[in-house]
Symmetry: D2
Subunit: 417 residues, 4 copies
């Protein structure tokens, strides 16, 4: 298990380019007897948010093949379709329990300090600028560990192991939900390592995830020579700068704390050309889902009118999003109870109060299961971190891996007994 985690750590892959990771997951699940759905069968192409550019996808694909991805399996993922679902039916009929794991890495250069364990122990990322700095290598490893444990099929019902791409940027879950991957799930467990909770502690639920929307806006005007005929241009950067200032000027809401950011703006080509194109990335957040929706509506309105003001065309795409998570209390209690039976978990809480966790697109999966009458929760499994999430020296303690597998196995067995 540690070997698998370290192999994944050495080969980090960004969201929607997890060709090697996902291929390996497919291969292992099949080896353990699972039916495997993946590629476009596991995620709806029209609902994919924030897909990287074609060249980026292709370069990553080539690299994955060079790094040993099974070419036949990877071919079905080409273009960014790296979702994987493993299904195993027990020896008896029964409900469906699902577990969700995320697989993607971050665009961060890993530390070379010798105090950083992956460096010291020789499993630092092979790629500069790419790093598993949010524990998804561990999460995926736990998913494979669980797959193996359950492969004896000694349960009454169905186990579904969901490996999602592109959790970073809250992008990948949405297309899996839209493909119906959650529609037959009665019980869903999601989990994350760390999150400011110490090793040995486990929370059966969590709170404080924000609703969030990430948008990409493009403005298209008309280029013109800035000296000889400036009036013939329609200036895309004037529209974009106006949008930027006005988006930041959106009011505070009495209905819930909000956040707003224009994270990227770029446009124009040369000093003497009226800028024809501009592109902008915007993020809204709120503790309140309706407030976030209202913020998104207002952002879209500002963009439309900033474009109209300078007679530009514009388009807006959702490139990421999340909603708040409301954990089902029964599952939270169940997780706290079962953790008592696992050595190493010394402090079990049903209700977590972790705040400021940012956003999680597992929220769409939990919401979908609950909408159809099922239950879901998002658990936090404590871990002493040498550095915060998304930091070049982030690392996990590997003892959480077997403990987590043990806990998830108990939850699967209890749910399907």
């Amino acid at each position: 298990m540690i070997e698998l985690r370290r192999d994944l750590h050495r080969h980090p892959e960004l969201g929607f380019t997890e060709f090697r990771t996902a291929s390996k997951v497919v291969g292992l699940l099949r080896q353990f007897g699972y039916e495997v759905i993946y590629g476009q069968d596991a995620m709806e192409p029209s609902a994919v948010r924030g897909l990287p550019a074609k060249e980026v996808l292709e370069a990553a694909y080539e690299r994955a093949l060079r790094d040993g991805a099974d070419p036949e399996i990877a071919a079905h993922m080409r273009g960014g379709y790296t979702a994987v679902v493993g299904i195993l039916r027990g020896v008896q009929e029964g409900p469906t329990v699902a577990f969700r794991f995320d697989m993607d890495a971050l665009p961060i250069t890993e530390s070379t300090e010798t105090r950083h364990v992956p460096q010291a122990e020789g499993f630092r990322s092979l790629y500069e600028g790419l790093m598993h700095a949010c524990a998804h290598d561990g999460h995926t490893t736990v998913g494979i560990g669980l797959a193996e444990r359950l492969s004896d099929r000694q349960f009454a019902g169905t186990v579904k192991l969901i490996f999602q791409p592109a959790e970073e940027g809250v992008r990948g879950a949405y297309a899996m939900v839209h493909k119906g991957m959650l529609d037959d799930v009665d019980t869903l467990f999601c989990q994350h390592f760390g999150c400011d909770i110490p090793l040995g502690e486990i929370h059966g639920s969590s709170a404080g995830f924000l609703a969030s929307t990430k948008l990409e806006a493009r403005f298209r005007g008309v280029a013109s020579h800035a000296g000889s005929s400036p009036e013939k241009g329609n200036n895309a950067l004037l529209g974009a700068a106006t949008a930027l200032l006005n988006i930041h000027s959106l009011p505070r809401f009495s209905t819930g704390e909000t956040r707003i950011n224009v994270g990227v703006l770029e446009g124009g080509t040369a000093a003497n050309i009226i800028p024809e194109n501009a592109r902008m990335i915007i993020e809204t957040r709120s503790v309140d889902e309706q407030t976030n929706e209202e913020l998104e509506r207002r952002v879209r309105n500002i963009i439309a009118h900033s474009a109209g003001m300078h007679e530009l065309e514009h388009e807006i795409r959702v490139i990421g999003g999340a909603i708040p998570i409301v954990c089902s209390p029964e599952l939270a209690e169940m997780a706290a109870e079962e953790a008592q039976h696992i050595e190493g978990f010394v402090n079990q809480k049903a209700m977590g109060q972790t705040s400021s966790l940012g956003s999680e697109d597992a929220s769409y999966m939990i919401r979908r299961v609950q909408e159809l009458g099922g239950k879901g929760t998002y658990m936090i499994i404590g871990c002493d971190l040498p550095a915060p999430h998304h930091h070049p020296e982030f690392d996990i303690q590997e003892e959480v891996l077997p403990r987590s597998v043990g806990l998830l196995e108990r939850l699967a067995k209890r749910t399907l007994r």
Copy 2:
């Protein structure tokens, strides 16, 4: 004549409030035998641009009555309808020649320096903050002088003396044109004193008047308490400030020099209230009429989208405007020729090259006459000025008054012989 000019100088009245001046003009024209059209008969109410607020109009009306305006005549002008047209038919049939004079003063406080002639000679403005600083007192006096000279009706055709309100802000001519006051005019002479041309010089035409539009925009949003529910407000000042910056950002045009200004912006009521209302005054100019129209179109579009961006209602009113003047060369030549017969004019040019004169709404009158097949010109009558136009020490040399009357009389007689 000097007495009349000094009486007018002592009683300056702003545009559309020339109740005393215009009443006096009506009375004198009648005395000289003219048919007089005035009030709403001489200007189209629906085409009036930039009318002052009702309270301002009423206060000025009351003042005019106190200052001796004929109450019966003034009553027909109440509400700002101070245009006057005097008509006199000659003893024989013939074409129609018109002369245009402007009557309004400026919101400037007149100098109290003893070197300033009106101060020294005791005819300084009686009203602080109001002053004839653009020679319109002289222009009106010339009109009356001309009316008297022509009262013997020894000409073949019709003389039309047009006294327009509110030339400042280029507002008053438009409504007179829309009432059809120029529709029967075959020949139109307009004139201005000064304009950087020395005493004794006269230009039969002028060039360089800019097309211009003056707009008032109003934004209406929704007020809300800035502390307890900022998101319930629609912020009119955010819309207005966005419009202001983007209007100033309009491009230079290769089709002709332009000018743009947001001269006034005001909105909001209190520190803790999201501003509900805002008001803005905008001016565009260009040497090229189509360019000015395009600027106006773009300003309107910016305002509309700035409002839409913050979900505000808006309205835009034209409060002033002018177009370029293209003088008919025949009249320019005629003026230069006739001026040779008047003592005091030592330098006569048909074609003036005066530039940077700003804008003039006589332009609408000249255009209208030319559109219907007639001819028009705008003459400059030189005058050594102690201070520039619109300056607290502006003054004219009174010897230009009789000379100008003489010239206009010759032009009338020549045109109608």
Copy 3:
């Protein structure tokens, strides 16, 4: 007492123009045997925030005299110095207890609906656009009622009754604190009627008042003709509009909820003049005092650089402000206990949880007393309101007046026994 309250209600006076109200307070306090400090003796002129314009002050002063203000007393208040402090020493030595009352009205036009009690009973405001819509008429009445009850001097120590001007806009308390009016106070009780708490309930303390700063910024540039020499102007409105957009763009803070508003912006004179002057009113708020201070610092920085960007001069004045209130728990308990002895108070709580109360400049008084080792609290006295605070139909139930007097008398006697 009801008569007094209704008399005050009929004669509302805005902040710093409470000439009639304050004169009446001075007269009555003297009648009851109090030593009275008022005018510039009770407030530091250099620390006055948000004083109205001289003309406004003078017009209100004249009106107050016409409405029966004692001319000799009022003369000492001329210019806006309407603070009053009444001091009464008991028959025995002891500590000093103070009570604070506010006197000013709001710029709101009172309802003429017959369901509105002041209209029905004939004590509606005599002045359109002015109204006691925040119960300060009641507060002042309670202060006078309390003055009378304590006039027998049967207590050990000193009573200080503080009548502050201009609570609206959180302006008046600051100058009284700076004059040292609170420096000898051991115990301070402040109170407000209403605040969403029903009749019969009383809270011995309150929470949720926000730190707030109100600033006025002025920009001064250079005027110029927008047609003939636009480049010679320094455009004050460009600076102000830039400041407005950037102030609204200030970030949310993770250290506490914030609010920000540019409530007023005005500048410029005419369509064809580059605007020379602009004025802006800004308000910041936060639940956290340091966060509000940081917001103020950033606002000032934005204004300075918006001015510098367009080569404008600028100045910034504080025109109002408040800090959070932390009530002394002993006084809160004491108030709840004593209220049990007053008929009509059926529900007594020491700790109030009223939120979103906005800001209160009594906060400076309470802070000052606490800084010097004393105690202070801000009590809420419930009242069923027909309409919210600051609404044209706002009214109080007059039965709260005697109850409040009774409570304050008990608190004074208990503190000074």
Copy 4:
């Protein structure tokens, strides 16, 4: 000669990367007996404007070597120092006459239409996205042709052939002037093909080149997580967008027509990060040099205060520039006269009225020569163009090449006889 031009056309190189072109020029000049100064000996490193990034320079250098550039010569140009000056002393003493040629190409993809001669005749650019679309391939060829003709040294004085890099973006001349390359020149001839003048026509001078400055501004703030601590960030994009709107809002000038453009803006990294960096490219122009300097001063001030407003660091670099050209009339006359002796030139004008030519950094060379008492001119040699300058189908008629060589030879001989 045609062969050389077509070889250059096939191998276009952008400004400061003319390694192959300049190496070839060095080799041929040496072959013709010229003393050659090049690399850092011909241009002052500290005065280079708008040098491309190191990687870009290196990649172009490698390509040039692959394309046959002499490695020994090119090595001295590495890093962007591609200026070349060839010097030849005549058989007799005398003054110095210089001719200036530009060598760089444009980032444009050349047309593949068969009507496009380079495509039809097989000398289309070998590199997608690079093209000689402004005739510099022809100019350089003329320089070499002239070098050969003058190699017999039958003149009294010195000939200096100046091959400048990076005319596009008006970048390269400045560093050559600062190296003193023009300091001994008595007479300078510059020339351009095309410019809306038909084949057979030649203008001995030209007018209408604008003063221009191209700036790059960089803003550096502090990144921060947009959700968890937005207030810890200093937002570089807010500063840049504010600068952009205010730069575009700079006034029109009565002292001369102006142009202003923010051609590029880019900043930020991700949706959820407060943007730390932003970069902006700005261009100012004016027919009046002082006006352009004032515009540059104001742009710099706006950038400084936009940065200060958001507590950003900033730096500004000049990356290009030009000044107006005032041609020496004697040279203009001389050129028109000499052209009469060249077959093919059917229409010779001394004074050209070509307008809207944009900007030219030969202006610095002409200014320098004139400052030191010499004379300079910028000639236009007509050419029927199938498409405008900078267009994918731009091409020249090759018959202008020998004619131009002939003209320049006559001018050299006449000047040095």
